[in-house]
């Protein structure tokens, strides 16, 4: 590659990534050279500025046709644009959370790193949305994972934080190894790492032997990625990590990291396995034949997530299991492929809904737990009396998580259900598990509301809210209600901008 070809690329397509990268570098240099007494908390605003600039530049890129640079390793297609919106929006909220984070101990000396590690993790996730190539996909995944490992353990002298980080590294390492192993098989059968090329080779593969290897690769990639999205039975790390990690990091893991996990699943599965034949006659496509395995994992995830959440007394563990259950709902959409009509918009909308309600909940948890020093569900007791507005916001988030109509969570679930019923035969078992899981989730979600409204006040301390945190709560509250009542603001935007995501794989 010579200099001229380098210059001929349309680098503008990578503008949001460059901005994030630049901000992260500036932050790290500032953190290194600025005197110790300088309050590192201010760096958060710089990080936020970077994210907002990246968001704006992303919006300016909407008018671009699909761009593919660096020989199709980096693609700016509808899928990338749509999911980067979610990632940047979520990251902005998480940075605001991190700015307001005041733990009882252990963050004084590392606050600077705290902020720019968020940005590198975000960069990894963004690269994943835009990858047209398995190598960049993997690099993005690792960048995200490695940054998250450090973020989880950033409270250096906290025992739980250390335990969480250790568990996360080991589990994450195993899952990465399995994913990579599966990918190596895919490379073996196709002889390429470019997703478009691989897709065309695999679509023509009717040899039963090769299909067997393809199946093996599918399983390993799926198992490896199930770790990343914390789907059962590979979810064990999630509760421990969530419990030990600082609250903003938990919000990051449960929202951004999960979004990225679904992004890579969609990228690989839709590119490679949707067009690949499932048997030697080519009568079924590969996913049609094998979606039962995804469906099984989805069902198991919903059941395990919801049932174990019933017994949790620690708020973060409870929401760890709740987030496992939500990953299960999303996997239902993947398993049914949205019935063929409702995949991308369903996953996108659900992730948006999940982002709003989950970050909102974690904002409230962060506020209450940093004041009381505990994470037990009893810190919610009497919130309705102590701070009615906070209690109402929390109630809205919980109702949305439970999927009560009038909130974004309901519309998201509705979309998933439509996908399960639209085909003949419908996925009734999966839908049944999902609805039963939802009913079970009422018990623990409403258990939290019982704490908020029915239990006597836990402490009389006046709740002080930093402006950053209240901004997060207000944005999440408005979004949760707005997209619940007029979901078409988001859905129409998605359809008008991106249509049916037809430019998903490169066609040349």
């Amino acid at each position: 590659m010579d200099w001229n070809t380098m210059l001929s690329y349309n680098w503008g397509a990578m503008m949001p990534e460059f901005i994030i990268l630049g901000t992260a570098m500036i932050l790290s240099i500032l953190d290194l050279f600025w005197p110790k007494h300088f309050n590192r908390r201010k760096l958060a605003w710089l990080a936020l500025t970077g994210i907002i600039l990246a968001f704006l530049s992303l919006i300016s890129l909407f008018s671009f046709e699909t761009v593919s640079i660096l020989s199709d390793t980096f693609r700016l297609d509808s899928f990338a644009k749509a999911f980067k919106l979610i990632l940047l929006f979520g990251a902005g909220l998480v940075i605001l959370l991190a700015e307001s984070y005041e733990p009882q101990e252990g963050l004084q000396e590392h606050r600077g790193e705290f902020y720019y590690l968020f940005l590198t993790a975000l960069l990894g996730a963004m690269i994943m949305t835009s990858s047209g190539d398995m190598i960049t996909l993997f690099v993005g995944l690792e960048l995200l994972s490695l940054s998250s490992y450090i973020l989880v353990g950033i409270r250096k002298h906290n025992r739980k934080s250390n335990e969480a980080s250790m568990k996360y590294v080991i589990n994450g390492g195993i899952s990465t190894a399995i994913t990579l192993f599966g990918m190596s098989y895919l490379y073996g059968v196709t002889g390429s790492v470019n997703l478009g090329e691989m897709s065309r080779t695999m679509a023509a593969m009717t040899d039963g032997q090769l299909q067997y290897i393809m199946g093996l690769a599918f399983f390993m990639v799926f198992v490896g990625l199930s770790f990343k999205i914390a789907a059962a039975p590979f979810h064990m790390w999630a509760p421990d990590v969530y419990e030990g990690a600082p609250t903003p990091v938990v919000a990051f893991l449960s929202v951004i990291s999960k979004t990225a996990g679904f992004v890579i699943i969609l990228r690989i599965f839709l590119s490679l396995f949707l067009t690949a034949p499932g048997d030697t006659f080519g009568a079924l496509d590969f996913l049609e034949k094998n979606n039962i395995y995804i469906a099984f994992v989805a069902g198991l995830t919903i059941i395990i997530g919801n049932v174990i959440a019933l017994r949790q007394q620690n708020l973060k563990r409870l929401f760890a299991f709740s987030s496992i259950a939500h990953a299960g709902y999303l996997l239902v959409a993947v398993a049914t492929m949205g019935g063929g009509y409702f995949l991308m918009d369903t996953v996108w909308f659900y992730l948006l809904a999940y982002l709003l309600m989950n970050i909102g909940v974690f904002a409230v948890i962060q506020l209450l737990s940093s004041q009381s020093g505990s994470e037990d569900i009893s810190i919610l007791a009497g919130l309705g009396g102590r701070s009615p507005y906070l209690a109402i916001a929390f109630t809205v988030f919980i109702l949305s998580l439970a999927g009560i109509p009038g909130t974004t969570g309901f519309i998201g679930k509705l979309n998933i259900f439509l996908g399960t019923f639209i085909t003949e035969p419908g996925h009734y078992v999966l839908a049944g598990i999902m609805i039963a899981g939802t009913i079970v989730s009422y018990v623990y979600y409403f258990g939290l509301l019982v704490q908020v409204f029915f239990r006597p006040i836990h402490s009389d301390k006046v709740i002080k809210i930093r402006s950053g945190l209240s901004t997060v709560i207000i944005i999440c509250l408005v979004g949760t209600i707005l997209f619940g009542i007029v979901p078409n603001l988001a859905l129409d935007f998605l359809h008008n901008q991106f249509g049916d995501f037809t430019d998903f794989i490169s066609s040349e």
Binding site: G339, Y341, F342, D345, G384, L399, I404, P405, G406, F410, I411, L414, N415, F417, L418, G419, T420, F421, I422, T423, E424, G426, A431, G432, I435, A436, T438, I439, Y442, V443, F446, L449, V450, F453, F454, V486, P487, N488, L491, D492, H495, G499, D500
Partner: protein, 507 residues
Amino acid sequence: MNVYLLSLLVFSPLLGIVMVAIMPKKEERTIKQFGFFGTLPPLILSLFLFSQYYSGVALSSFDTKINWIRFGNLAMYDPKLFTVNFELGLDGLSLIFILLTTIVSSLAAMASIYIKQEWKGYYLLFLILEIGMLGVFTAENLILFFIFFEMTLIPTFFLIGRWGFLEKEKASYSFLIYNGIGSAVLLVAILILFARTGTTNIEALSQMMTMGGVSLFAPISGSMKYGLCLAFIIAFAIKLPVFPFHSWMVRVHAEAPPSIVMIHAGVLLKIGAYGIIRFGMGIFPEQYKSLAFIVVLFGVLSLLYGAFLALLQTDFKLVLAYSSVSHMGIVMMGLGALNESGIQGAIFQVISHGLIAALLFFLVGVLYERTGTTMLTKLGGLTKSMPIFSGLLLAGGMASLGLPGMSGFISEFMVFLGLFKSQPLFAAIGALGLVLTAVYMLRAVLMITFGKSNSLVEKEKHDLKGLEFVPTVVLLGLIISVGVYPNLLGGPLQETIDAMMLALGGR
């Protein structure tokens, strides 16, 4: 103007919500007044609608339709596909239910004077609940119906769990879980219909299901239609509730504050009957016809089971709770009779029980306020200290057991008239229940009013006073006027029932 009238009606409690919300927490008197005034705009609007109807304005001229949600990107096939509109509409049936809602709500708001704490939260939830109920009866499509349906669920959960009696939290949980299961079944049925046909408009659906319209994605097979019809019936049977799904409702009746039970027994349970008529019967008439046998069977079971258990209770609230189970059994029997008088009787029974239950539970509230108990064993001899109250209680009891001249009689009479035509055996067995009704109701009422005087009530008691007369007199007046002049309800209903008979193959 007409186009916005229904939206205005449904969301008019918002005015009260804003008024209550801006009041400081401690202003008990003002909050209570504002809370009551909040229920007046819907009452006035619904009475206006009723008068419009009587002056000959077609109810369909009030229909509202606004584009709302479009799912999926399928506009290139058909722009209407997978759209959910915000559409409200009115027919005779919903008009009656709306009147019931607004009247009972206003009276229950009046009965809420007995609420002792946190009036602000109470009235806010109360008014949200009213929006939900009004929406349920005007929604023209299933998704909208479901949204309003759930909107009644959440406030009720809090109203029971926060302001109820001793075991309120258990009752509210049991309410939540049973109703959650019911709405889950409902949601699945709604979404299967939506996914397969691309629409949720009730009228369009009933056309598609009966005449076989085009379904674009996957067909709805004959057996699936039975399944869906059954799902609707089960979902609403839990809400109604019918034996064996009644236990949550008994708990709610015993533990919720009386003013909320007025709403609950008066209106919320009636959503179950409304749903079976609208969706079970309306969308799947063919399938409903062959399932009617089961409907009658469970109707008779509830009637007898409720009546027997009511006979054994020592708490007046529980007597009334089981009497509700039993009366809802009569509704099911009427709905399963499949002929004009049966269905008309069922709807009459729904309205009449709504009014009677509201009256009786208002009196329960009055009683509890003065004596602190509703146990039959601890009460007695109230005629001496509270003669007006005792008279009203007796009147309510008589209405409940179906004394001619009151609304209970005319509805039960019509139900049995219809059922004897179509299922004489069940009707005969069911008639036994009527005898039991008289026994348990008289036993309970007489133990309270006459019976031997008890130390608890020997002290001087206030009889009904002031504002407490309004709900009792209004309700009793309505009960008697429906009983004497049934056409008050029969008029608006006739058109709906005629349409339904046509779909059911008329008999």
